[in-house]
Amino acid sequence: MSRYSLTVAVLSALVLALAILSLAAGPAGIGVIQGLSDMLHGRETIAATIIGQIRLPRMILALLIGGTLGLSGAALQGLVRNPLADPGVLGISGCGALGAVLVFYTGLSAVWAPALPLAALSGAGLATLLLLALTRGGTLVLVLAGAALGSMSAALLALTLNLVPSPYASYEIMHWLMGSLSRASLHDVLIATPGLLIGSALLFSTGRSLDALTLGEDVAQTMGFPLRAVQWRVVLGTALAVGSGVAVAGGIGFVGLVMPHLLRPLAGARPSRLLLPSALGGAALLLAADLFVRLPVSGAELQLGVVTSLIGTPVFFWQVWRLRGRPV
């Protein structure tokens, strides 16, 4: 078995184990199998309600959102050929969250449910387009623009939430900025899943083009992979996937940055070979983080993004430490 197949197999097993654990873990001591069977047979027991209404949506969203974050990180890094690309670091998630907040608190999403994911993916899409327009300026310009977009979206988001008459404004700000799945419902799953799946399909389809791009835009184009076609697929895919995720769970950071870095030594440097492992790794990371926040540590639940950042930043520092002194 090649190292790539082994990596994929181990990660798949890990995701499966964490998904089952995610259904089993919680304050209510109920049987998972009993709950699932009750749910499937339409028996309205407490176990069926907890599994079907609370834990299953949460597990599905953690799996899909984590997966798409890892995947979009890997695809963005391949596209701009820059290991710092990530929807969180570059402010794409933040702009998506801003779009979601604007629609959510003006009440538009209550009138027309799809407005929420559409606004989030418009925000994420606009941010991605702007960043792509700036990639020609090089690494520094990209990172600076990303930092600016991130700060701007966070500030506007906080401003919007301060203006709405809500006693829970600061809690809401935390939810959207750091991300959380504590309120995940079946409705959220229905709203987010189409975008998450279509976005992922688009991002997965870019593998060969990203491989060709490692030789530069010119060579890729002469080999039959025009840059523009890849760009559009990555922009649309990222906007759909990240936007849909942000719409229901807020801006969860660091997953897309950390996973490709962590898995590159195992999966090899070919961008196409990094997509699936990064998606699986992202799903595993978010499932694990979501299990962690449910631990009764502090009484109140931690924000999901706090945990992913706490896991993510040491790994990131370690990578930066290894890269020190090398030319960018």
């Binding site: 060969r208 491989d211 490692t214 030789l215 010119d218 002469t222 080999m223 992979f225 440097a269 070919r270």
Partner: protein, 256 residues
């Protein structure tokens, strides 16, 4: 397959970069594109590779317009080796060469791809390093790996922009010799060169560009005259015996 430029011109931001260039690259020949800096050699090669659209005129591949050809088909017919490549991101040497088989992903078998890559790596003398990370190669080795990538396409047309600029004389000779072998096997090769000695020695024909115009085209001995050096490069030539250019390199005993 013949690659033909049909009186192409290009103006960018008010500058006339190319002016009515009509030439062709034929199977079995190495066409050298020479001229002073800024003469339009690389621009012409980029147009021939389908990367840049000429303002007027057409680029024809066996009579078919290059710019209306499906990208994937074009990718199989034409391999392009740019002057500067991005830093390798740590793929193995074999994986980099294998990228050259991407245009064949729907038409060739895995064995065909393996064979093509092995042949290409053998040709540039990098087989021994096949599993090494491309991040750990010297400049010359990396240039040869990228050449192997272009050779692995096994395209009837091979276009190379200053392929020997980063190489020492011995490696430059080997690489130029390799282009000769490609031509001998029926490929049409066009190479942008600055080294006139190499051009004289390895090119079947030479096209001289100056200020966007095709000044002269033909066999080296006919094209590289004292008058041309004076007119195009502004240099005088002192000839020693029968040597066709100011100085000439011959094959060394040492092979890189």
């Amino acid at each position: 397959m013949i690659l033909q430029t049909d009186t192409i011109s290009l103006t960018l931001q008010g500058h006339r970069l190319l002016n009515n260039i009509a030439l062709d690259v034929r199977p079995g020949e190495v066409l050298g594109l020479i001229g002073p800096n800024g003469a339009g050699k690389s621009t012409l090669l980029r147009i021939m590779a389908g990367l840049l659209r000429p303002e007027t005129g057409r680029v024809l591949l066996d009579g078919q317009d290059l710019f209306t050809m499906p990208p994937e088909k074009r990718g199989r017919h034409l391999a392009y080796l740019p002057q500067e490549a991005p830093a390798a991101i740590g793929m193995s040497v074999r994986d980099v060469a294998m990228l050259g088989r991407l245009p064949h992903r729907r038409t060739a078998s895995a064995e065909q791809n393996e064979t093509a890559v092995q042949q290409a790596l053998d040709a540039v003398g990098m087989s021994a390093f096949a599993d090494r990370s491309s991040a750990r190669l010297s400049g010359g080795e990396r240039a040869r790996v990228l050449l192997a990538r272009a050779l692995a396409v096994q395209a009837p047309i091979l276009l190379a922009d200053e392929p020997v600029a980063a190489l020492d004389p011995a490696q430059a000779l080997t690489v130029m010799d390799l282009f000769g072998q490609c031509a001998a096997q029926g490929q049409a090769v066009a190479v942008v060169l600055h080294d006139l000695a190499l051009a004289a020695r390895f090119c079947t024909r030479i096209a001289v560009l100056s200020q966007g115009c095709l000044v002269s085209i033909g066999p080296p001995a006919e094209v590289l005259t004292d008058a041309l050096f004076a007119e195009v490069y502004g240099v005088a030539v002192r000839r020693c015996g029968e040597v066709a250019v100011p100085w000439s390199l011959v094959s060394s005993a040492r092979r890189p």
